[in-house]
Assembly symmetry: C2
Homo-oligomer: 324 residues x 2
Amino acid sequence: MKADLKQIQAPISSEMVEFEKKFRDFMKSKVKLLDHITNYIVRRKGKQMRPMFVFLTAGVCGGIQESTYRGAALIELLHTATLVHDDVVDDANYRRGFFSVNALWKNKIAVLVGDYLLSRGLLLSVDHGEFELLRIVSHAVREMSEGELLQIAKARKLDITEEVYYTIIRQKTASLIASCCAVGASTTGASEEVIERMRLFGEKVGMAFQIKDDLFDYGEDEIGKPLGIDIKEKKMTLPLIYALNHASWLEKKKIIYLIRNKNEDKKAVNQVIDFVKKSGGMDYATQVMNTYLEEALDLLKEFPESEYKTSLEALVRYTIERKK
Amino acid sequence: MKADLKQIQAPISSEMVEFEKKFRDFMKSKVKLLDHITNYIVRRKGKQMRPMFVFLTAGVCGGIQESTYRGAALIELLHTATLVHDDVVDDANYRRGFFSVNALWKNKIAVLVGDYLLSRGLLLSVDHGEFELLRIVSHAVREMSEGELLQIAKARKLDITEEVYYTIIRQKTASLIASCCAVGASTTGASEEVIERMRLFGEKVGMAFQIKDDLFDYGEDEIGKPLGIDIKEKKMTLPLIYALNHASWLEKKKIIYLIRNKNEDKKAVNQVIDFVKKSGGMDYATQVMNTYLEEALDLLKEFPESEYKTSLEALVRYTIERKK
């Protein structure tokens, strides 16, 4: 079944509207500057995939509760905090090592706003005695920061293994979707076993999601983000890692030379992309992605059929069929 | 009674040694890069005032427990996270708006390490089901980030009131010491009333501490941090706020002109300092500081005498008698 996000949202559409209203309330502060910034953040909101995972898993596990809203808000506050913290560096990259005083203010503010949003999320759970939510989300914060740091530590080592690649994407990407699903289940009062199954389900979806994202860089669909950005940044992802592992010694040496020394050269980057395509790197990554997807869907089989389950399955497929 | 930090530490000296060992363990990670950084952080540790407040208040409230160590570690992890996040900007200021790629990496890493340390602290409490500690500390994170943002928002408005000044220092500085004392009390199983009294005690100590810090900038002791830094950064603190509020219209206009336009000029900065001294700004700030101090000590009166209490009183006096 192919579905667009609007169809997928159908069983939780009123909840999503209410959630958005509540989320705005949760972010309110006494400091005007902060309200300006959080209003700006709310306006540029994305596809709302994370709250959708929370509400749909809650639906599948027995029904959306009042605490499901807080769970979704906690995740969304955490995710927003991460995005704001990421801006610290993105802004910097854009400016190529050059900062205006204004940009410095923004940096300081970005760090503080991120910390503030995180604390608001925590307080939301603390004030309602929702210990399990705190446990799930604290783990996610740890995993995500550790995963990003692992990526930085390994970034320049071009001999990164498949194993390390999986560890990085599990920590930096999959852990958040895993948390969404565990939180959704947890807010329905589900058993530890069900919460764990939903966490694993979300983790597998997250793995597939990130592999899809990495495939975009090789221009799989010829739209989406510009080609070869990862190669330019010497970021080793699954298609390239596979291709290098299955290349001859000489070919490997040549490709590594190109990535190390010619990564700013469009022609060399295209050579690397061609190499990956010819070596079957994209096919392999696609196959791994599909395996994660099927394993995720398998984990849903034990739950009774419902409109929530149908939508959740469609949402999972959407994550790998999306065009950007 | 005048005492140095070593004397003050005497009743909790073995606890402080054990704490340091445990704290190192709490910070350990699977990522080598992270361990390098946290080792570096541990080595440049300061006076350990925060753990001292936690252990001494626990001692005063009935005795140090196993959870007191976790409470102290939680606070210290949070404080370290804040310091690391602050480095994002300090580094930047030092470089006067110019960044190397290396500095950018460090920025990204600083944000991530801060987030990581915060999550470790949270997990420490989550894993032991210490809900009250989480409540206290989440409030502190919120207060501190809100306070810093309030300071940024008001920083360029030179007509800041005494009220706003107190709000800023209560949030950005006093809230952390307040948390130390509330956490210390909480880990002994004290009543809500006792926890709240200790929180208020810590808050008053923190207010006195920050006013002392702001007084240093006017060279009260002729040592410590360089003179006039706050004026150079157009940061309005109590001595100056008082002096401006008690100046003639003409004098006020002149001083504001100097701060706004001549803040980089050493002579002009000295003129502002002289103005503050002559207007009694420092005497007033000292008096307010002493009032907070006495109010703090008053709150301790209801607790039975003990070596912990004697040390805690000495620690409070130390915060305003320190030379830097």
